[in-house]
């Protein structure tokens, strides 16, 4: 494991043990192992996300049904499964980007299925999304792309471009770019970046609003292996540094085991696997793809 991850894991244990805000629903978080398998914390943590009996189908074809799980604050959960098992669909249901057919989704105290548009926007303003493709706006500058990450919290014309943005927003965007090591490219057009750089900017955009939950949908899918490793290391180092709850999809079993505290496996229209990463082997996960 990289030195940066070791340091951030250590800082995470101190962060999570100092959580005192229990005014929202809580549960006993699964024991958090370090990479050697030893427990480093077992605190009672707020639940950031709870899904119960979730079902979704497209045009009458069921994608998954009866999916239930919860995420406690600061946890990193990997979702694995073969193509077509509904991993991306599940994430989009969690954010209310597509409607689920049945079940309940509670994210940061918001009932996603019953929420108004305004409530959904308020919930999403506390979340960040990093997609397979970076999804930057190509003709705008890097800084403008990151400033737009604040639109959920600060809607309106002033955050349409870095040129109109108030000084604190521009500074926050530059600080986010600094964290991903790309502050020197702030004024470059987004379509002039390499794939790895673009994905780093996407991470900065997701982090600039200081989200409580980060969602990553195969963030390394469009990158070569070396750039993919860099992006994953950076993504998780920053997420753990900020104490953010992470839910990510990966087809890379090693990534799922290395970066996830827990692994959820989707297969055959359900979620047959919900286990701690430390107790899982790569072989067991490969079984989900059979």
């Amino acid at each position: 494991m990289c030195v940066r991850c070791t340091q951030t894991l250590a800082s995470l244990s101190s962060t999570t043990s100092s959580v005192t805000n229990f005014d929202i629903e809580t549960l006993v978080a699964p024991a958090r192992p370090d990479r050697t398998g030893a427990d480093i914390s077992a605190p009672v943590l707020p639940v950031d996300l709870r899904v119960t009996g979730l079902a979704k189908s497209f045009a009458g074809t069921p994608i998954f049904k009866d999916v239930s799980f919860g995420l406690s604050r600061g946890e990193a959960v990997a979702i694995v499964g073969a193509n077509g098992t509904g991993k991306s669909t599940l994430l989009r249901c969690l954010m209310g980007l597509i409607p689920a057919d049945a079940g309940s989704i509670d994210v940061l105290g918001t009932d996603v299925r019953g929420a108004s548009n305004a409530a959904l926007r308020a919930m999403r303003a506390q979340m960040g999304l990093v997609s397979q493709k970076h999804n930057l706006v190509p003709r705008l500058s890097v800084l403008s792309n990151v400033v737009q990450g604040l639109l959920g919290q600060k809607p309106g014309l002033r955050h349409w471009s870095q040129a109109f943005a108030p000084a604190p927003s521009r500074e926050a965007a530059l600080a986010a770019l600094e964290k991903v090591g790309l502050a020197h490219l702030a004024s470059r057009r987004a379509d002039r970046l390499s794939g790895g750089q673009s994905q780093r900017v996407a991470i900065a955009r997701a982090l600039v609003g200081q989200p409580k939950i980060l969602i990553a949908d195969e963030p390394t899918a469009s990158l070569d292996p070396a750039a993919g490793e860099d992006v994953m290391d950076l993504f998780f180092a920053l997420a753990r540094q900020e104490g953010v709850t992470v839910i990510f999809i990966s087809h890379n079993i090693d990534h799922a085991l290395q970066y996830g505290d827990r692994v959820l496996g989707l297969a055959q229209g359900g979620m047959p696997l919900d286990a701690r990463a430390a107790g899982l082997s790569a072989e067991e996960l490969r079984g989900l793809y059979d």
Binding site: L97, R121, M127, L140, L151, G209
Partner: protein, 272 residues
């Protein structure tokens, strides 16, 4: 040597059409022939027209290049370009909000999309020359009527295509911004419109070319521009001056097409 067991499985080169498809083709041919009959298509006239056309060319050439005439036509051509440019710019600007209402799945509900799209369809269905006639009645003879005709014609064209361009724009950036909690209007302004911008620019340049072509004939109905000179030239059998007008229009329209192509490459470049 050919493997006969393999060639036996080859599909036929041409599929035999079904009876229904055959009936459809036959009906298509009948409609085309019927249209030729309705249009008064006559081989005799086609054969007899070249001598008459040659006679026109003989009377029209050489074109009238008297300095006084060239100066008058030049000013009229300039007015034509002004009508085209002013009308196209107003039309393009107004097309953006109209297209936002027409585009499905952006900011307006489906029933509004349908109403706006139907309205745009109506605008396109009415020819620009008919719009010019309407505006001549509304605001009087002159270039202002022509400009309004060009503006409304541009809205019909750009409103539809801008809406289609936004519907077809890459949805990735929009989804990423929606996921931050951004409002629909912010998402459209920050992700959808920038993603559709190359297509907007291309459509706008085509609309400007179209406006220049249209503006050259609006004068026929008194809506300003060089068209009136063409009408007067033919009415007075002053074919040399009419030919000068035709050549002037051709030069300007072709130049605008080249200029538009150059601008498209410079502005959009490899982004298309």
């Amino acid at each position: 040597m050919t493997d006969t067991s393999l060639t036996a499985g080859l599909p036929t080169r041409y599929e035999r059409p079904s009876a229904l498809a055959f009936l459809g083709y036959a009906l298509g041919v009948v409609i085309i022939l019927w249209s030729f009959a309705g249009a008064g298509f006559s081989i005799d006239k086609v054969i007899s027209s070249p001598p008459r056309f040659a006679d026109f060319l003989d009377r029209a050439f050489p074109p009238n290049v008297e300095p006084k005439v060239l100066a008058r036509l030049g000013w009229k051509m300039l007015e034509t370009l002004q009508i085209a440019l002013a009308g196209a710019v107003i039309g393009i600007i107004l097309s953006v909000p109209v297209a936002l209402l027409a585009a499905r799945g952006l900011i307006a509900p489906t029933w509004i999309n349908q109403i706006v799209r139907t309205g745009l369809g109506f605008i396109r269905a009415v020819p620009d020359i008919a719009w010019a006639l309407v505006f001549v009645v509304a605001v009087g003879l002159g270039p202002f009527a022509g400009m309004l005709a060009i503006a409304i014609d541009t809205i019909g064209f750009c409103g539809r295509f801008f809406a289609d361009d936004m519907e077809a724009a890459d949805k990735g950036p929009s989804e990423s911004l929606t996921a931050t909690g951004a409002r629909k209007l912010d998402v459209v302004a920050c992700a959808t419109i920038p993603a559709a911008m190359p297509a907007f620019i291309s459509t706008s340049l085509f609309a400007t070319e179209k406006a220049v072509r249209s503006s050259t004939i609006l004068g026929l109905v008194g809506a300003g521009g060089i068209g009136i000179e063409l009408k007067v030239g033919f009415d007075l059998f002053d074919y040399p001056t009419a030919m000068t007008v035709i050549l002037m229009i051709a030069v300007v329209v072709i130049s605008i097409e080249y200029l538009s192509g150059w601008a498209r490459t410079k502005i959009i470049g490899e982004q298309r």
